[in-house]
Amino acid sequence: MKLAAIGAIGFAGALLLTGAAPPPDTAVDAALLVADDPAPTLASYHLFRDSSAREPNLALVPYTLNTPLFSDYALKFRYLFVPPSRIVSYREQGALDFPVGTTLVKTFAYPADFRAPDEKLRFIETRLLIHKPQGWVALTYVWNDAQNEAVLKRAGVRVPVSFIDASGAEQRIDYQVPNVNQCKECHSLSGAIVPIGPKARNLNRDYDYSEDAENQLAHWTRLGLLQGAPSPSVTARLPQWDNAAEPIEARARAYLDVNCGHCHNRAGLASNSGLYLTFEESDPTALGIGKRPVAAGKGSGDLLFSIVPGHPEQSILVYRMASTEPGVMMPQIGRTLSHKEAVALISDYISSLKPAAARN
């Protein structure tokens, strides 16, 4: 994010000095984005000014989320592109109402060493979620070793990735670039593809823009990209899962919402499970408390309930989050490693729940 922001300043500075309009060849190809057939290479869209996609086009706005999806510790660089003369409309629930042509750009990257996260960055893939006239379409472009070209990959691929983690240990993973069906597995609501992250409550936070830090919703409004948003101070805000200053239950519910709730909701791929982990859910059984598994199979880990208040070690939720075995692990896709910090958070949350006399 910092990298992208620096790139943007550099370019803006150059413009100021020369007084020149951006060269036409750097304008985002908005027509190509919504064309029927996806471009074979990422560069074709001119979303970035350099072949290695380190410097975004000026029309792209970087953003971040209060609580993101875990993807094997990959760093994510997110940008919003809204076609000229179009505007995003505020929505209190669900993703914002993005106009046709909107493109959400997300690059997944690994530093060589997470103790120096800004250095020696390797881009793995750049995903585009494009609002085409017929609906949202998910595409992913996979970076070459030279880091100067990303090509469309529709059938998915495994990419060997190694890095030094934050504790100094070496990690080697088979990073999973999803195929287009897998994109839909998470991004579907009642069978249609929708964005997951950019909900008002998840965007409602400051971003360290080059000029100054500013609330993202206020920033988008000021740029004329967003209409109808109330003041951030009266807008719902999703807790930051890793902010120790926030209450544990709120952090845990935020994490479960973002990492599980896209499938585990009443219109998602896991609707049949009866386990619903969205932030709005209030039914204790649907949230897993005293809930028996339905089709977990070996995913139950010989445990009886999704959540046993006070007992993370007896809770299927923790067992499946900690697992890396296909058929057991949750989420089913998008990770090969266990998110240790999140397992700790959810364990703390379950420990904090009072054992209830509730029927199950």
Binding site: A155, E185, N272, A295, K298, G299
Partner: protein, 411 residues
Amino acid sequence: MRTVLFGVLAFAMLSGAADAKTLKVTPGADAQERLQAALIDAKPGDVVQLASGRYELTDGLSLDVANVVVQGMGPGKTILAFDRQKGEAEGLLVTSNNVTVRDLSIQNARGNGVKSKGVDRISMINLVVEWTGGPRAGNGSYGVYPVTSTNVLIDRVTVRGASDAGIYVGQSKNIVVQNSRAEYNVAGIEIENSFNADVHDNVSTHNAGGILVFDLPGLPQMGGHSTRVFHNEVVDNDTPNFAPKGNTVAGVPTGTGIMVMANRDVHVFDNHLDGNASSGVMLVAYLNTFTDPTYNPLPRDISVHGNLFGRNGYAPVWKGGAELATALGGSLPPVLWDGITSYPKPDGQVVSEAVHLSISDGPVVNLALKLQGTPATKADPVVTKTLSDGNLAEPAPVVLAGGQMEMGRAH
């Protein structure tokens, strides 16, 4: 938007019919990517044809294009091997309408074999889904697994080694399971929270339990009803239950023939049951407490008739079963009913219900447990030749959507 979508769909279907093509896939290097690419590139009307051979797959496969046939050259010839699967919870996941998967083997999927989620018209024909290491708790849960689907055909499917149910249909409507074989699974065939199912002419053997018709609380589709279980061979279900704890089937006693739990309008007839040590036919209420106020835990409107019983119920393994068998002369009668007719609602209020039964195959033992949640050790058994409070209308035969019935007959 709706008109645009409709136009696109109509066009896709028309063009699909006109230009239907066959996408051929062969085993070998990059099979994962080539096969998955074919499943993505297929257009409505296409056939994805898998040549003979062993496909070494590293991830689950998925299909999200409507009106597609995925066809191998026959089970044992086209083999999708998931021994090295690194991700996904299914061998093959289908999420699009009107799909047929046929003529192939699926081996050692890390999770389920073939799953369909939310599909109208799913047909699984002439498949062998197996875990080749024998019955183990670490095997995948379900061999074939249509869920929240409508118009489901399972025909000539063999499943071996599933750690839950070999053939499992959940929260679905309009279902035919026929001419199939389930062996060495925890449950052979299970119909759960489903409406209108015909389960017939199958062989269910060497599982812990042969055929189950269940309804569970707290799910989007509840109130399972109208299932006919007929003309099946339910014999020698003797594999010790190897389900991981926590799963409902972990509570199915080893040696169960046919078990109906919390369902209505279930007719069990013309089956052959033999060699099921715990019981022949069991009609029981859901055992646990529940929080869903709309859930009914009782089996009701159940008919059992015309079955051929060999030796069953001679060594029941469930708690209190052995004592009961001794008290009844060493063996249980072929049909067992728990005699539960009332249950506490989640708010504590106890409701009673007339559960109509028509059991002409006798003798039948009524455990007279009366209140849901009463353990079988409190049984006050009554054995009668038959047990009936009138005739119960049989559910109408299931009629599947156009083309599916014909596929099921064409062999």
